[in-house]
């Protein structure tokens, strides 16, 4: 066994070691690497993925802007709807006021009519009074807390007076909300006014101006405001 042969063997052994070591390393890398993982992806694959993601991103962004526009449109619609509903609410309030379905307060006059020993108050007196008040611009009228509406009847049913199918008796307190000056002056015209006329006839009529009159809504369970025969004509 000479020296050169030992050296040769040693060198070949070292080279084998290096080669097999590197090969095993490579085997291990290939085995362990998850080919689908992003760290393992080659540059071209990454580029392809990037471009596809980019297109998707753009699409989604387009969608987003579209959706945002839609949302803005809907918001506008909601706003306009709110405006419309506000208008409707206002109208409804106005109508309710007009029809007498709300409690109202305000300044106006209170007229009290009483039966005395000689003369008693009849329905026609009340009708005249209510008409006079309406003429003077009364906005809400009630007799003994029964609201006077356009459909309200005031008739004699002895010994009562029937208002809104309710029987009322003396004293008759007529409340009216409106311009108090107009109302009082219309009633207390000299000679031809309601108060003068009726006091001449010997009836007891008193009138007061009041700052704070409360008139409650029409509230009669027996006689609901329903239209059964009259139908609206639409043009």
């Amino acid at each position: 066994m000479n020296k050169s042969k030992i050296i040769l063997s040693a060198i070949i052994g070292i080279i084998c070691t290096i080669l097999v070591c590197v090969m095993y390393m490579q085997f291990k890398i290939v085995e362990e690497t998850d080919i689908t993982g992003i760290e393992a992806a080659r540059e071209e694959e990454l580029q392809a993925m990037l471009s596809s993601w980019k297109t998707r991103y753009e699409e989604i962004e387009e969608k987003l802007t579209e959706t945002q526009q839609k949302i803005a449109e809907y918001q506008e619609k909601i706003d306009s709807n709110e405006q419309a509903s506000e208008l409707l609410d206002e109208e409804l309030e106005q109508t309710n006021l007009l029809v007498g379905k709300t409690n109202v307060t305000g300044e106006g006059v209170v007229v009290t009519l009483k039966n005395n020993e000689e003369k008693s108050i009849t329905a026609s007196d009340l009708r005249t009074l209510v008409n006079d008040l309406k003429l003077a611009g009364a906005e809400a009228i009630s007799i003994n807390d029964s609201r006077i509406l356009s459909m309200t009847e005031i008739v004699d049913v002895d010994p009562y007076i029937l208002v809104n199918e309710e029987r009322i008796i003396s004293p008759y307190i007529v409340k009216a909300i409106g311009n108090p000056t107009y109302l009082s002056s219309a009633l207390s015209l000299k000679d031809s006014g309601f108060i003068d006329n009726y006091t001449k006839l010997g009836k007891t009529v008193e009138m007061e101006q009041e700052k704070n009159i409360h008139i409650s809504a029409y509230n009669n369970s027996k006689n609901q405001l329903q239209f059964r025969y009259a139908k609206e004509v639409k043009e």
Binding site: M1, K5, I12, I15, Y24
Partner: protein, 135 residues
């Protein structure tokens, strides 16, 4: 002696390779090219030893320089956006097949010549025996 050295080297290399930490996947391409270059050198060495013109210096220089050059070319190819490593693979694997072919042919011829020699020896033996009996 040389065979024992090869076996021991393989075992040690396998043990080290199994326990060594792995390098990132990005560089595994370079490693693969280096392995192919080294394998080519090994087969070249076997062929040359069979032809009886094996030179240790050429083998070692080829082993390392080929591997390093292959890696460098692969790197250059990546920089130039040309797949130069494909050319390296083609060249090295082609040479590996050539060398393997040479090795195969050597052993086939050796086997065939052994048979012919054996036949000739048998014929000579027969002739000798015949001449002995003739005496």
């Amino acid at each position: 002696m040389i065979l024992i050295a090869i076996i021991i080297g393989c075992i040690i290399g396998a043990l080290i390779g199994m326990n060594i930490p792995t390098i990132p996947y990005t560089y595994s391409g370079y490693l693969a090219i280096a392995i192919i270059a080294a394998l080519d050198s090994v087969f070249g060495a076997i062929t040359s030893s069979l032809k009886r013109n094996f030179d240790m210096k050429i083998f070692i220089s080829g082993f390392f320089v080929n591997a390093i050059l292959a890696m460098a070319l692969t790197y250059l190819g990546q920089k130039l956006n040309v797949d130069i490593y494909l050319a390296a693979v083609v060249v090295f694997v082609g040479r590996m097949f050539n060398n393997l072919g040479t090795i195969r042919r050597y052993y086939v011829e050796k086997l065939a010549s052994n048979k012919i020699i054996a036949k000739a020896e048998a014929a000579i033996k027969q002739a000798n025996e015949a001449s002995k009996s003739n005496k």
